[in-house]
Symmetry: C2
């Protein structure tokens, strides 16, 4: 790993994004291997786009915990694959029915629905394989990492959040209910990205885990609040996906519950909480601090 703050943040982000792209290139099955179309579609939807927030978080805590580069690349690849699979399934007609993602036609549009279903299924399995194939970490830690990824992806994490989201269309959730939903839907995978990035370096002590959890919880919520703000204010071209969709779908959002200004204030407050959570790590946590700023200040 590059030493913290050796580079300006923007250059570090670009550097990590390029590393993640290269890692995904090799961690995804080659399009030349059978079944070609499935592998091509897996690569189509995973490569060449996205903000790579989860990989950046993994690299950010990897920088703090001395992450081993090959393990970190696999952690970043695995969390991104889970994220991408969730987008592919979420975009399908039976879910959000979205045609545009990361500025490109979604998989069920570019290919077909059955392929989109299989692309998501195969990407999930691939994520676990990518973690299981790490050969530089103690096996007991690796088992723990696989367990954490499964928990974050499953019905007690991301899938559970999606299910609550589905059932809340047209309902008026309280702010607490909305928060719980997002803690599962996006928070669980953001948190596990931070934790797995740390574990790619060394064991994490209980107080360190607590600090990383507090940080993750704050940026997870901030991420969603900002998403809602952007959905209400940005245009589709900037977002690379259909804007204004949540309101059109009558989904509860922070903006619909708190209003636009209060939502922006909440995001800023969560950014400060994220910084405070990192205080015990001192200067070494610079990348995670900058990532909290990025999450709150992003424009897309």
């Amino acid at each position: 790993m590059t030493a913290p703050a050796a580079q300006p943040f923007d250059a570090w982000v670009q550097d990590v994004q390029a590393q993640v792209e290269r890692a995904l290139e090799t961690l995804l099955p080659a399009a030349a291997t059978i079944p070609h179309k499935l592998h091509e579609a897996m690569r189509y939807t995973t490569l060449g786009g996205g903000k790579r927030i989860r990989p950046l978080l993994a690299y950010g805590s990897g920088a703090l915990f001395g992450g081993e580069p090959a393990a970190l690349a696999r952690v970043a690849g695995a969390v991104e694959m889970i994220h991408v699979y969730s987008l592919v399934h979420d975009d399908m007609p039976c879910m959000d029915d979205d045609d545009l993602r990361r500025g490109k036609p979604t998989v069920h549009v570019a290919y077909d629905e059955a392929t989109a279903l299989l692309v998501g299924d195969a990407l999930q399995a691939q994520a676990f394989q990518v973690l299981a194939d790490i050969d530089t970490l103690p096996p007991a830690r690796q088992v723990a990492m696989l367990r954490l990824l499964a928990q974050a992806a499953g019905s007690g994490g991301m899938c559970g959040g999606q299910a609550i989201d589905l059932d809340s269309v047209g309902l008026s959730l309280t702010r607490d209910e909305l928060e719980r939903m997002h803690q599962l839907k996006t928070g669980a995978m953001l948190r596990v990205s931070v934790i797995l990035g740390a574990l790619a370096g060394r064991d994490v002590s209980p107080p360190e885990m607590e600090a990383l959890d507090a940080y993750s919880k704050a940026i997870g919520l901030a991420f969603q609040v900002v998403d809602d703000v952007l959905d209400a204010t940005a245009d589709s071209a900037t977002l690379g996906k259909t804007a204004g969709k949540d309101a059109a779908d009558n989904k509860p959002t922070y903006v619909s519950i708190l209003g636009l200004e209060q939502s922006k204030e909440l995001a800023e407050q969560l950014r400060r909480e994220a910084h405070e959570a990192l205080a015990p790590f001192g200067e070494q946590a610079q990348r995670l601090r900058e990532l909290a700023d990025l999450i709150v200040q992003r424009k897309a």
Copy 2:
């Protein structure tokens, strides 16, 4: 584990099926935990039905390799969850569009399509969690088991086979192509059930792995040949799913390529090959031998 052949085979099968049912009851998230509907649907589709062929294979090789009971129950639960998730997704309108499975309405019929999508996604994650939560095996072996499960479930295994299957509708495959498709689609998960059952006991030597592979390959193909024979000859009530569907969907099958009689002969030949592969294990492999017979002689 019960000593091999301590019970008549039928009683052993019923005993294992009951053990697997109890294991799944506790390995699946409780319906009382949030999100209720998702967990209820996961339990609806997984519990109370199915031949449990993959768990039986795991217990069969577990009996041979001295499988540790708690680990074996988790292996059986994990392979069944992957299988059930694949059925749920396969039954969806964008894939086979089937209304009936294991004699009950399919998940997208009993609930809705979005729930079916999430049930499958969450069951896949749960399978990896169930394996990762084993706490009685050496972690290095456990990592290997997680890797094998991911390979068998992903694009180089089950999902890959599904993708080839999708693309072969209306095409006339050669027998070799059909075999390759089924080795991925069903063979990979049947094989990994045998291997993981063995690894729940102890490390498997290369010659032992070779014998288990030869056995798995034979029963995997036999399973599919018999499936095709049953699809062409049995009725929906007996099968618990829609019969005659492959022919109606213009899918290549062993019956369409070889004819009914030759398909039956092939299944019988594969049964003998499975028995031969087990020769090195002697009497101890009795359950795996009986399972090969069950797979070929089943009526549903």
